[in-house]
């Protein structure tokens, strides 16, 4: 038996609301079977529009919250465990109490953060073979004295989870994710919070007031921090950089989309000035590695092209046939 909660979001709807509900799977089953059963249940909420539900236009996310439900004495059908989580989601919608005026990713992030706080085990992040190989290579290089890695990783490689994995392996207190492209931060926060390996991390947007308190509170409570730093040249940028780097905590700097804006000296130099033997740095880009690396003291480089992902895909397919 498993207690599941779900989120679905119809991108074709003008209301732009996410639906969050629960579903109790009363038979013995694996996690995958429970997810399948929950999706079948969600599908019943689209009477006569099943094809639309099956299309990519309806985004879906399912969680197994059995442990949390047990801790709340709500491990049974119709226990309304979703309503226990609902206040943490907030932003009530207009279509009923199960709807929230939130985008799909926003709702997922709020639920993940809530579950992580409650100690409900999240799903474990697994890496693709290529991600694992390259993460191993970089961790080895960093452990052997390299400090600045140039990572040219193609589209669909999964740079976000990969660089997050390297940060977890290096066990640093503060991971600074810097970019000129702001959508990078949403991508990091929403991707990482769903996985157990990142449950002990607090995500802090350096653009908000009170970021210092948030970071200090996290570190004081034995948590670690992902700090999202915009490289757009605002008046407070230097102050934020000083705060993040001028302290005794162990640190990693990840510069994402490093060939876009971040390769310019005005953006790179304030960070380069803070690099020393204690800071691990990953300069990450999909293309134009030479441009991305222009100002950085690169020690070593890793690179993965799209055809390599296909070579690996074929190898995996062949291995599964054996």
């Amino acid at each position: 038996m498993r207690m599941m909660v779900y989120n679905h979001f119809d991108t074709a709807s003008n209301l732009q609301e996410s639906k969050f509900g629960d579903h109790f799977v009363s038979k013995d089953c694996t996690y995958e079977e429970a997810v399948e059963d929950t999706i079948k249940y969600m599908r019943t909420q689209y009477p006569r529009r099943a094809r639309h539900f099956d299309s990519d236009a309806v985004l879906k996310k399912v969680w197994d919250i059995s442990e949390f439900a047990k801790s709340q004495d709500k491990f049974y059908g119709a226990s309304k465990i979703d309503d226990v989580i609902r206040p943490a989601i907030g932003s009530p919608g207009t279509q009923g109490k199960e709807y929230h005026k939130l985008g799909f990713d926003d709702l997922n992030m709020r639920v993940n953060l809530f579950l992580a706080k409650q100690g409900q085990p999240l799903i474990e992040a697994g890496l693709s073979t290529k991600q694992y190989e390259v993460a191993e290579e970089v961790v080895d290089a960093l452990n052997n004295g390299a400090r600045c890695i140039l990572a040219e990783l193609c589209a669909r490689f999964g740079k976000t989870i990969w660089s997050g994995a390297v940060a977890v392996e290096m066990n640093v207190d503060i991971v600074v994710v810097a970019s000129y492209v702001k959508t990078v931060f949403t991508s990091f926060a929403t991707d990482l919070v769903q996985f157990q390996q990142f449950a002990n991390y607090v995500h802090v947007d350096m653009g908000i007031d009170g970021y210092k308190e948030k970071i200090e509170h996290a570190l004081a409570n034995n948590k670690k921090v992902f700090a999202y730093l915009s490289l757009a040249n605002g008046t407070k940028r230097q102050e934020r950089i000083d705060y993040l780097f001028d302290n005794e905590h162990s640190k990693m700097l990840i510069v994402d989309e490093a060939d876009f804006g971040a390769h310019q000296i005005k953006q790179a130099q304030p960070l380069i000035d803070k690099l020393d033997e204690t800071v691990y740095t990953i300069i990450m880009t999909g293309t134009n590695a030479e441009r991305a690396a222009t100002h950085w003291p690169i020690d070593t480089m890793v690179s993965v092209t799209y055809p390599e992902l296909l070579i690996q895909k074929k190898a995996t397919q062949n291995a599964s046939k054996l």
Binding site: D56, L127, Y132, R156, I265, Y306, T316
Partner: protein, 420 residues
Amino acid sequence: MLANFKVNVKRDLLAPDFACYQMDLMGPVNSAIAAGEVDEDFKTLPSWAKFAANPLKSKGFFTRALQGLFLGQGGHDELNVDLQAEIYSRDHARVAMMFMPANTRNDVLEIIGNIAQETLPGFEVVVLCGTIKHNGVKVNNRKAEGIVKSFVENGRPVLIIAAQMAQRSFSIPEITELYLAYDRGDNGATLQKMSRTLTPGKEGKVGRIFSLSFDPNRDDKFDAMVVETALNYKKRNAGKSLQEAMRDVLRTIDIWNCQPNGAIKVDIDSYLEYALARKGISRVLGKIVNINLLSAGAITALANGNSDYFRNDKQDKTQAGKTRDSATTKKSGVKKDHSVEKEIAKAREVITTIIENLDIIILGTGNKILKDAMEVVENDDAMRECVEEEFGVSTETISYLFKQDIIKQDWVEVMYDNAG
């Protein structure tokens, strides 16, 4: 071994397959010339740059090309995508994206969009540039994806036309055809553009990339991907030579040559031969040279043609791998930094020229071992003079680059063991 993460091989399977198609546009060009539909300039030497300068002057060519590609009309089966890719049916309406030359002006892109819409009335042609509004929404990079999604969801075939916009952070799973309608172009930007058809979609999705060229034998858009993959593959498969690595990679990437009777898979030896002839491989190698192996002094000397630097032992005292020291410690503002960037670019150019002309040394000395070949050159005054004249740099400079492993021995092997 990682302490906190395991491999999940299911993730290996998420990358959609892709296939590359080399298309020759001379069919519609010749038809348009015969019908008097293009101007003299385009007629003499057709190019995408000329088309993008004034699409109305060569409208006849473009409409014929679009009819061939999307409708299979006009007797240009070498462009008939359904025939070339053997697409007999589709499980959703066709969604294609076409990138025009990067410097195409917004007003010109709008004209191109209008021509495409007139030619393909069954399609929704969606032009992505800053001067256009779709359903009252002005297009920008952030909104482009949402705008296109709304067209795709309508269920009609869609042709997206862009130049600069939507190269990154633009994910439409339904895009299965990607057209590169420009000549040459930056390798990095081409890879970004190609990736727009690699967003995972329905199970079994194949992203098809079509390079539309007026001279396919000189078209090097796929070369960067092949060479860089081979170099990475070799790094992880230490026993293999670069040549073997390239052959392995070419066995995995499907590159098709489009012919009137259907596409023919490009044979590995011919590909290598043509890639070498068009200097595609040497150009890519020049682009990926690890300039970090050079000291700041060596970069300056290379960029400025200062051969004296390489003749004395000064360079040995400069720490390599700290290329940017002089730039990063100065607080001299943007002007100075641009000059550093320019110097690096210039040094890279010099190295690329050396790689492109290595045949003078390799074939001239009859020696494929770089260091040995340079010894022969340096000990022969006539040869030395000839090399310095051809390369525009001293033989000491070239020897230095070989000794520092900036230009690698195995690159020579792939270039000269394959030469036809």
